[in-house]
Symmetry: D2
C-alpha cells in the first residue's frame, strides 16, 4: 500500500444525553484514530457552557483523567485530524468553538470546501476576522449572521452557502446536530446507546461503545438531536445534486470492520481482490498481501485464483513518529523499518503482491526491491483500484498532479519504474462494481479527473493543473 502518502483530514463523533459523554467520545475517537493521527479534541456541553480540550497527538495521549474533569455535561462532539502544516497543528485542531450572538457553538468537520476562498474573501470584506485556516471557521461565520433566529436556522442556511465535502457534528448548549453535504462525499452514521444518540464517521466507533447502528445520515440531511428527539431537515431537497460518495473510503481509508455507504468495507475489499484476479490473472506460486492495507484484496485474489496466500511480509507495528534515524534517511529505509519480507516464503517463488493503491510509487518500488532481495523469482503487482491521476479536493490529502505517478507515466514506464514482471490495476468498472450500490453514486474523480462539483479556489485550480504542489507546503 502506498496509501501512506494519503492523509485523510478527519474523523468526527458526537453524542447526546449520556452521563459520560466526554469519555464515550474519547472511545469513539479512538476507534476513528485511523482517520486522523495528528491532533484530537473534545468539546462537551453542560447545558450552559461549552468546554473544550484539544491537543496534538494520538487520542490516548491528548486526553488524561484531568481532561474529563474539564469536560462536564451529557452532550459532546469530538474530532481527530491530520494537518498539512506542522507549525499550525494546534491552532487548526478541532472542534472549533466560539461565542456569538445566539450563544455558544462548536463544530467538528470532516471534508473540504471547494469555495472556501471565495467565502472567506466575502466574509472578510464584511469585516470578519479569521483566527485559523479551518473551513469550520468559515462555516461558523456563515451561521452567525444576525438575520437567523436560531442556531438551527443559522446552520441550515450556512449549509446552503458552502460547496464541497462536509460531514459535520455540531454542538450547541442543548443540541447535537449532524450535517452531511448533498453529495455525501464523507460518511456519517447515526446510532443509539441506551437513551443517548450518537453520530460517527464510521460504524466501527459504534461497535467499540456498543451502540446500535440505526442508519446513515443521508446526503444533504441535517439531523437535529435535542430533548424533542431526532428530527431532519433537507436544505437541498429542491436542488438536483448527484450523490458522490468517495470510493476511496472503500479502497483504503475506512476501517474494514466499518459499514459505510451501505456496505461492509472489508467485504467490498475482498470483492475488489476477487475482481482483480478475474481482470489480471497470472501464473504464480503465492499471493502476498502488503499488510495491513492489502490483506482483504489479497485474500480475495487468492480465493478467486486458487493460488495460495503466503504471509510474505511482516509488519512492525511499533513504529512511532518519533523514530528518526539520520544515518538511514530516505524512503527506502522507512519502507524497510515497517516491512520485512520472510525469505522462506518468497525465495525462488513467483510472487503476486497485492496492495490497495499506488500514489507516488516510491513506496511500492521499494517493496518490490525487498521482495527481489529476498529471492523472489518473479514479482507480479496487483492493485485493487485504478491509477489515481488527479488530486482530491474533497478531504483527502492527495499530492498534486505532478507528483501522481500515473498522471505522468505510461503503464510501461510505471512497470519499469517499479521493476515488476507484470502490473495490473483494477478497472474503474471493476472497482465500482465491488459495492452493492449504483456506480453513479460514487465520486471517482481521482481516477478520472471528472469532478462532481465546480472547483472555485485558485489554489485548487493550480494544484489541478500541476503548477505547484500547494499541499506539500
Amino acid at each position: 500500500m502506498s496509501g501512506e502518502n494519503l492523509k485523510h483530514y478527519c474523523g468526527i463523533f458526537g453524542i447526546y444525553n449520556h452521563p459520560h459523554a466526554a469519555r464515550i467520545t474519547q472511545l469513539g475517537l479512538f476507534a476513528l484514530q485511523h482517520r486522523g493521527e495528528e491532533a484530537a479534541g473534545i468539546c462537551s456541553s453542560d447545558g450552559e457552557k461549552l468546554h473544550l480540550v484539544k491537543g496534538v497527538g494520538h487520542v490516548g495521549d491528548v486526553f488524561s483523567e484531568a481532561s474529563f474533569t474539564n469536560l462536564p455535561g451529557k452532550n459532546a462532539i469530538g474530532h481527530v485530524r491530520y494537518s498539512a502544516n506542522g507549525s499550525s497543528v494546534l491552532t487548526n485542531a478541532q472542534p472549533y468553538k466560539v461565542d456569538y450572538s445566539r450563544g455558544r457553538i462548536a463544530i467538528a468537520h470532516n471534508g473540504n470546501l471547494v469555495n472556501a476562498q471565495i467565502l472567506r474573501a466575502e466574509l472578510e470584506a464584511y469585516g470578519s476576522i479569521f483566527g485559523s485556516t479551518m473551513d469550520s471557521e468559515i462555516f461558523i461565520h456563515l451561521l452567525a449572521k444576525p438575520a437567523y433566529r436560531s442556531h438551527e436556522e443559522g446552520i441550515i442556511e450556512a449549509t446552503r452557502r458552502v460547496k464541497g465535502a462536509f460531514s459535520l457534528t455540531i454542538l450547541t448548549e442543548d443540541q447535537l446536530i449532524g450535517v452531511r453535504d448533498p453529495h455525501g462525499f464523507r460518511p456519517l452514521c447515526l446510532g443509539r446507546i441506551g437513551d443517548a444518540f450518537v453520530l460517527a464517521s464510521e460504524t466501527c466507533a459504534f461497535d467499540l461503545i456498543e451502540a446500535k447502528f440505526i442508519r446513515e445520515v443521508e446526503p444533504g440531511e441535517v439531523v437535529v438531536i435535542d430533548t424533542n428527539g431526532v428530527r431532519s431537515h433537507f436544505p437541498y431537497k429542491d436542488v438536483d445534486v448527484p450523490k458522490a460518495q468517495c470510493i476511496f473510503e472503500h479502497v483504503y481509508f475506512a476501517r474494514p470492520d466499518s459499514t459505510i455507504f451501505h456496505d461492509n468495507v472489508g467485504f467490498v475489499r475482498e470483492r475488489l481482490g476477487r475482481q482483480l484476479a478475474k481482470e489480471h490473472p497470472v501464473d504464480a506460486d503465492v499471493v502476498v498481501p502488503v499488510p495491513d492495507s492489502g490483506n482483504f484484496a489479497a485474500l480475495g485474489y487468492s480465493h478467486e485464483s486458487g493460488i495460495p496466500l503466503a504471509h510474505g511480509f511482516i509488519r512492525n507495528h511499533y513504529i512511532g513518529r518519533t523514530f528518526i534515524s539520520p544515518t538511514e534517511a530516505g524512503r527506502a529505509f522507512k519502507v524497510k523499518i515497517k516491512l520485512n519480507p520472510i525469505r522462506q516464503f518468497v525465495d525462488k517463488k513467483r510472487v503476486i503482491v497485492v496492495d490497495d493503491s499506488i500514489v507516488r510509487g516510491n513506496t511500492a518500488k521499494n517493496r518490490v526491491k525487498l521482495l527481489r532481495a529476498a529471492g523472489a523469482r518473479e514479482v507480479h503487482m496487483r492493485i485493487s483500484c485504478p491509477p489515481p491521476i488527479s488530486p482530491c479536493f474533497y478531504g483527502i490529502g492527495f499530492p498534486s498532479k505532478k507528483e501522481l505517478l500515473a498522471a505522468n507515466s505510461t503503464m510501461d514506464e510505471i512497470k519499469k519504474f517499479l521493476d515488476v514482471d507484470t502490473l495490473g490495476y483494477l478497472s474503474l468498472d471493476g472497482t465500482l462494481g465491488a459495492t452493492t450500490q449504483s456506480s453513479k453514486d460514487f465520486c471517482s474523480a481521482c481516477f478520472t479527473g471528472k469532478y462532481p462539483t465546480e472547483i472555485f479556489d485558485e489554489m485548487d485550480k493550480c494544484k489541478l493543473e500541476g503548477k505547484r504542489d500547494f499541499f506539500g507546503l
Copy 2:
C-alpha cells in the same frame, strides 16, 4: 507585601527591523516576566506572513531553539500574562493573531477595557464570532471594519471606540504600532537598539537588550513604526481626557530598576519609605523589610528615622508553583515556605516591619505571627501606600470589594486582625507626593473609589458593589 494577591494582567514588547527580532523579544519578555508569569507568546513578521508561538509557563520554558526557527522575520511583538481562569490559559494567551480583509495582524494588550461587554454584544449583533474572552479580540473586530482603508486607519478608529486601559503593541506584515490609551493607565516606552526600534512596558526590558530609552509613548498616542521611520497620531487630541497613570505601578508592580511615568521606580519607593517615617514615626530597635517588595521603602524608612535596618526575613527564591503539600495546606504554610525570620535579628526587639501594601490581610497577619514566634517584643507595621478599598478595572486583578480588608474594617479592627502594636498606612498625598509628577496625573481609584472613567460592564458594577466576587471565579 501582600501584593501577592494582585495579579497584573500583562507585559508587552515590540521590535522593528532587527535581524534577531524574535530572540530579542524573548529577552524583553524575560525582563518583563514579573508582569505576567502564566503564559507567554511571540508573533513575528517576515514581511509577508505572521508567525506565532505561545504557550503556558515562564518565558524560559515556553520558547525553545525550535521556536525561533518558527519565528522568522525582522519585526516581532511579545506578551506575558496572568490569567484569571486556569482552564483557558492557552486560549487566552497572546499575541492574538488573525487574517482579515486588509491582511494579517497581531495584537498584544496590557490593560482592561471598561466597555468590553457592550462592544462585544454590539459586534455579535452584527454577526461577529468570538473565539476567546480577550479584549484584544474585540479590538481586532473593531479595526477590521470594511470601511477603513488601511491597518493604520483601522487601528486609529478602533482606538476611539474602546474605553479603559490599553497599552498595545500591534504587528502587521510591515509595521509595528504602539498604542497607549488617553488616560495613560499603563506604561509604554519607546527605545532604540542600532537600526531597530523597540517598544516595552518598562525600561528594564531596554536595559537587558542594551537598547537606548528614547521616551515614553504619550497617553493617547498611536506610534507607527515602518520603513518611513516613526510617526505619531493623537486620535484623542480634540477630547479632554485627564491623565490617570496607575500609582500602583510605582508602589508595587513595576520593577524597581525601571523608569516609568517619568520616574525611577526604586527611587520613588525609597521616597515612599521616607515619607512613611515622617507620617508614622515610632520608637523601635530595627526596621525589617518584607523582601523583596518592601526593600526600598524599608531602606527609606530607616534612612529617615535613623533606626537601623535589619535583614530579619529570609526569602526562599526556589518556590515553584508546582510545590504543593496537602499535609501543610493553607496560607500560613505558604507564607512560611517563602519567608523565614532570623531569630537573632528580631528576638526581644521592637520591630518595625515595612511592606508595600495590604490587600486581603491574611499574608500580613501570618508574617506578624512569624515575627512574634521568633521573639519580637513589639511589631509595628508600616505600609507604603493607603489602604485599598475599591477594585481596579484597569488591568490589575484586585479582589472584589468584599474581600478587601480595608473596605470592610476600621483601622482598629485591622490592627487587631493583624495583631500589631501599631499600624501606619502612608497617606494618599504622601503616596502621590513621592513622584516628581503632578498628583492629578495619577489614578488612585483603588484607594479612593473615584474612577477616572465610567464603568460600563455589568460584571464590573457588581464587583464594585461587592455583590459577588467575579474575579475569584
Copy 3:
C-alpha cells in the same frame, strides 16, 4: 492469542567495530522491541570508557539525538526488557554497567537464573552489596573475583557458576562478548555488517540493519570479539548438558521473520497450523485467525483443511499502554478495544478460530463472546500448541500454576469455560514435529512440568507448587 499474558524478559544486541555503533544498536533494539516494551538501554565503548543511556519506554522514545552524542565509540550493546515490578523499572533496566578491578564492563541479559538466590546469598556473605534485583548484577559479582586475570577469564568462570537460562552480550573497553547457556534456552545469533560483527537475539535485527547472518551462537559457547577477530570458548564442553531450546519462542515469542534454532519462525508456525488441521479437523465455513499471533497457524490450517480463510477480526494497532478508561474497566473491554469482529464474515457461519496459545483463558473466552455476538453459529477453537500447565523459570513471565487454566481444569471444563463448540490443542509431538530439529533439543517444561534443570530458588519452588503467585506481585 492469549499470549498477551506472557511477558518475555528481554532482547539483546551487540556490535563491534562500527562507526555508528550506538545508532545501529538502536535499530537492532527496535527490531527486537517485541521482546521487551518497558525499558531500553544502550551502552557504548569508546575504547576507554563505557557510556550508558537507558530509560523507561519504547526504543523510539528512550533514545533522542542527544543520546547518541552521549554514546560515542565503535562498540556497543543494547537491551530491551519487560519488568514485573513497575516501581523498579528504571533501576532494573539494562545494560548493567560497573567499574571493578580489571576495568569497566557492562552486561545485557536475556533469560533467568535458577540459582540466583543461592548465589546472591553466598556473595552477600562475602560482603557484596546489591543495588538491583537483576541476575546480571550477580553475574558481574561472580566475574569480578580478584583471582581471574582478565575480563575474559572472569566471564568464562562466572558462566560456570550460574545455572538456568542466559543469553548475554557483554561489553568491555575493547571487547564484545556473547554468551549462551549450555541448554541454549534463549536464541543468540552472530552476524556481520561490513567490518563489524553483530550479535542479536533474533535475525530480524540483522535484516533491518542489512547485516549478514553468519550462524547462531552455540549452546554453551562464549564468543569473544576483539581486534583479533572472533574466537570461541566452550566452558561446558566436558559436562553433559542436554539442549533445551524454548519451543515457545517458535510458538509465540519470536518474530515470524526471524530464523532461530535453525528454523524460520513463520514457516514453523504455518506447519503448526497444518498439523493442527490434521489432528483436529472439523466441518466449518471459515478459518478466522486471531491477528496477529494466529495468522500463520490459521493460514496453515486453511491450506491443510481446504476451508477458506476469512479476516474475521480487525486489530486496532493504535492501542497504547496509556489508554485507560475507568468507566469500561476489565479484560472484556481490553479485548474489545484491541479486536473487533466483522459481522459480514462470521454471521451465521461455522467459525474455526485459530490462536497460538491459551494461558489464563480470559482473553480467549472474551473473543469467543465477541464472535457469538457477531452472529457466529458455531465456534471451534484451535490452538497451535499444547495446554501450558507449569510455569517457566527460564525467562518467560508465566503466571503461577494456580493461574494456568489448563493446570486446574479438565478439557471439558475448559471447553465450557470458553463456551466453544469444539476445542483442539495441538499435541506435544505435533508441536515439536513442526521444527526441522530433533524434538529432544527443546524445552517443553511449560507443557509437561518436566524441567531440564534443577529449580533451586525458594520463590520458584513456591510458584511451582502453586502456593502463591510471586510473579503477580
Copy 4:
C-alpha cells in the same frame, strides 16, 4: 558574589518515627535546596523494605503526589546535590540504597573523602564492583564487610576507614543514623518534631517543618536513632583529631537564617561586613550590596561606616537553567541577565560594592563594568573574606589552583583586572573572628593552602598543583 562558581555538593536530611516521613523530608530538602539544585532523592523505610525515589531537578519537580505513594513508612532520609558531570547526574543521585548480607541500607552523604581512590582500589582488589562514582558507595562497601555483626557496627567501623569530610544520614529497615566526621567539616543538626527525631544539614530545615532544634551532632559523633531513643558513639574518641569546620559555610554557603557551628549565619555575615569596614574604610557615597550574597555584609559595612546603604542592583529571580540565548553568549550576558543596576542610585556616585567572595573574578569584573556603565564615579570593591588561593577537597566544588584569580595574581593585578578604584579583602583573622567560636576550630585551607588532613588521591594532588582542572571535566 562570585560564589556562583562554587558548587556545594549536598544537603542531607533524615527523620525517624513520623507518620508523613517522606513528605516532611521533601519539605526539609526544599529548605536545603541551596545546597544542591541538580538532583534530589528520598528513601523511606516501612520497617521491612526501603523505598527510593530520586530524579534530576529541583525538589519541587522531582517529587509528585505519586512519589509519596511510593515512599511509605515512618522513617526516611533525603538528599539534594550538585553534580560535576551532567551525563551521570541520575546515576550519582542519592540516597544510595543497596541490599547486603545484613539487610537493606541507604546513605545520603554531604562532603568528600580524601582517600576515596585508595579505598576503591583496595575494595576492587577484593572483588568489589562499583556502579557509580559516589563516595557513598565506598562507604557501603566498607560497612558491608561480613565480619561485622550489625548495621550499626558496620557503620562505626566504616567510619574509621574513611578520611575527609562526611556528614551522613543513613537509613536501615528500623534505624536512622547520623554521622559527622571527626573534623566536623560539614554541619549536621539534630532536632525534634513531636515524637519524631530529625537530622538536617542546617537548622533552616527545622524552621520550615516547625521542628525544635536540640543540638548539633558533634564532630566525630555517630548518632543512632531507633525504638530505644537516641544514643551516641564516638569512634574517634581515642584519636586526636582537630576540629576543622568549614568557614566558607558562614561566608557563603549556608542559609543566613540557619544556625550552624554554634552561630547564626546571617549574624556572622553582618559582623564580617562590620569588620570589613574597620579594615578597609574608604570615603564614598553609598554602600551597594551584590544581592543576595552580599546583603548582610553590606549592611554591616554600612552600619559600621555610617555610609548609607543603597539598593543599586536589582536581581532577576526568574532565571531558569533552561534559559539559553546563543546570540548573547558568555559570562557578561549571564551577569547582566541576573543583575541590573539602578542608574538613579549610582550615577555620579562613589560606590562601595560589597560581595562575599571572588573566585575566578570574571563575574565580579562584569559587575564593575555594569556599575561604571550606570555612571558610578568610583567603584570600591569590598569582599567579606580573604582571597581563595587553593582548592577545597572537603565537599565544595572549587576550581583548580590555576583558575583561582588570587592564586595567580598580585593584589595590584587583581585590582587592574577588576577595574576597581580600590579593593579590600577581609583578613583571615577578621574572618574567623566574626564567629563566637575559637579560630582554630575552623578549616580555612582555601585561603591558606594548609589542609587539616592528608590529601591521598592522585586527582586531588594534581588539582592542588594546578596541573589540570579535573573538576572542570
